[in-house]
Symmetry: C2
Subunit: 308 residues, 2 copies
Amino acid sequence: MTTASNNPSEDLPWWRGTSPLPGEDELSVRKQRAEDWFRGLRDRICADFEGLERSCTLEHPQTARIEPSTFKRTAWDRPQGGGGVMSVMKGRVFEKVGVNISVVSGEFSPEFAKTIPGADENPAFYAAGISLVAHMQSPLVPAVHMNTRMIITTKGWFGGGADLTPMRPRDADTQHFHQTLQDTCDAQHPDFYPAFKEWCDRYFFLPHRNEPRGVGGIFYDYLDTGEWEADFAFTQAIGEAFRKAYVPLVEQHYNTPWTDEDRQHQLQRRGRYVEFNLLHDRGTLFGLKTGGNVEAILMSLPPAVGWD
Amino acid sequence: MTTASNNPSEDLPWWRGTSPLPGEDELSVRKQRAEDWFRGLRDRICADFEGLERSCTLEHPQTARIEPSTFKRTAWDRPQGGGGVMSVMKGRVFEKVGVNISVVSGEFSPEFAKTIPGADENPAFYAAGISLVAHMQSPLVPAVHMNTRMIITTKGWFGGGADLTPMRPRDADTQHFHQTLQDTCDAQHPDFYPAFKEWCDRYFFLPHRNEPRGVGGIFYDYLDTGEWEADFAFTQAIGEAFRKAYVPLVEQHYNTPWTDEDRQHQLQRRGRYVEFNLLHDRGTLFGLKTGGNVEAILMSLPPAVGWD
């Protein structure tokens, strides 16, 4: 836990610091540790999700002919530097789930650099992270999104979060998801959960519909308390909390039959998801406008969608 | 036909003029004539399309249980001034077709006003028009878009166009569509077709996919040759040409059975349509960001879509 001593401005919260970077050797160690950890989290999540494919016992017309599936991995390169691996599974529980890990580097455009801490002096950046979106066969199982990342410019920080998009929200599910994330945040610092929950609610909102994308979760960025080990540990804890927050919700509902009306409702709700991702999501828009890997960026789009 | 005498700049084509507006009385007459004409075109197109619903004889599993449909009309108001009428039909030939007419007025935001001819001096605007998007049950029948409009700021002009999005392009269809529009343009001025075809190709393009949205058509804006009657007549001619360009394509293919593979391909191609409309279409983005009628603006989105 840190004090407010490295607060760069009265307007910014204490945890949004601008610590000096360590030397090159230590920086390399940090990058390697983060990359290894994102990769390991990817493996654990994929194992969780493949296990759910196998343990589902529901016989339903929509999925009866689909065998329990496994992730297919595809590596991609970014011409400007770096690349990643997409892991995609299309199965009987997960209609489409993508887990992308990436390590990219390059230079921000001058215009974009102005908006990024530490990039105004030097546009060079490094970014490593994991990003996950799951669209479920069952309209009774919530869709989910999780992302954590480490960014380095002339400054360095962590960002991430997880949020839930139920088609038919249930209080107990929402409560479990929020509580799991809150417990993880509270264990780190009491300021985190209120700030990161509010940020999530503000971010995952469709102004043109005047409605939230889902029931929220947490969202954080620019996390630099001055104690890199603690910040990395927090980001790791959020990644693990995601598994505890989400997997039980799948297990609770994946064997419950749904109706055609549930399915139609799900397809319409997914339309809102598409609207958010293509109209508002800054990661999507930034990626597409800067020549990112289109397949990896748009991996988040649902396999089947409808607009009335 | 006009000469280049009112060319406002060496950089702009001769037909992109900045004629003075007439007095209030004449302006009211012009508005009324345009509004009446957009409404009449809407009625003729709806009658065409309802006729196609009735004349289709195909028995296909996807549509066998759907009766020939008719348009349902819904009026909407815009809080800032004006409103419109959406006409939507979901049928056995047209999976979803929307025809929207609107007459709106208000003031552009200062930032937006800078980009609009004649609005820098005074942000007040008037816009009347018709907009149509058709998504077809059959993957063998092209989707289509048509729009024409009259705008008045301290200047006045017409804009519009029509473009075709086949799922499985056929040269004869593309040729018929283009030729019908070209004949109409050529009858007005030989400069029009090359300029408006190129504008369409440039506009309906997905840079992140490096692919066109469809096979094009024409797109024009800021049409002010100095002869209002001629410009109005041209916009009317394009509206009528749209009917001649599109209806025969439906008749040619709507009784041909399609495969599940055709359908899957159609759903994926519609994903590109959504990407264009939410990421790039300036009408959609402007409408959503300025508090337009969400249902009318997003009427263009397909009823069923897929992303692999």
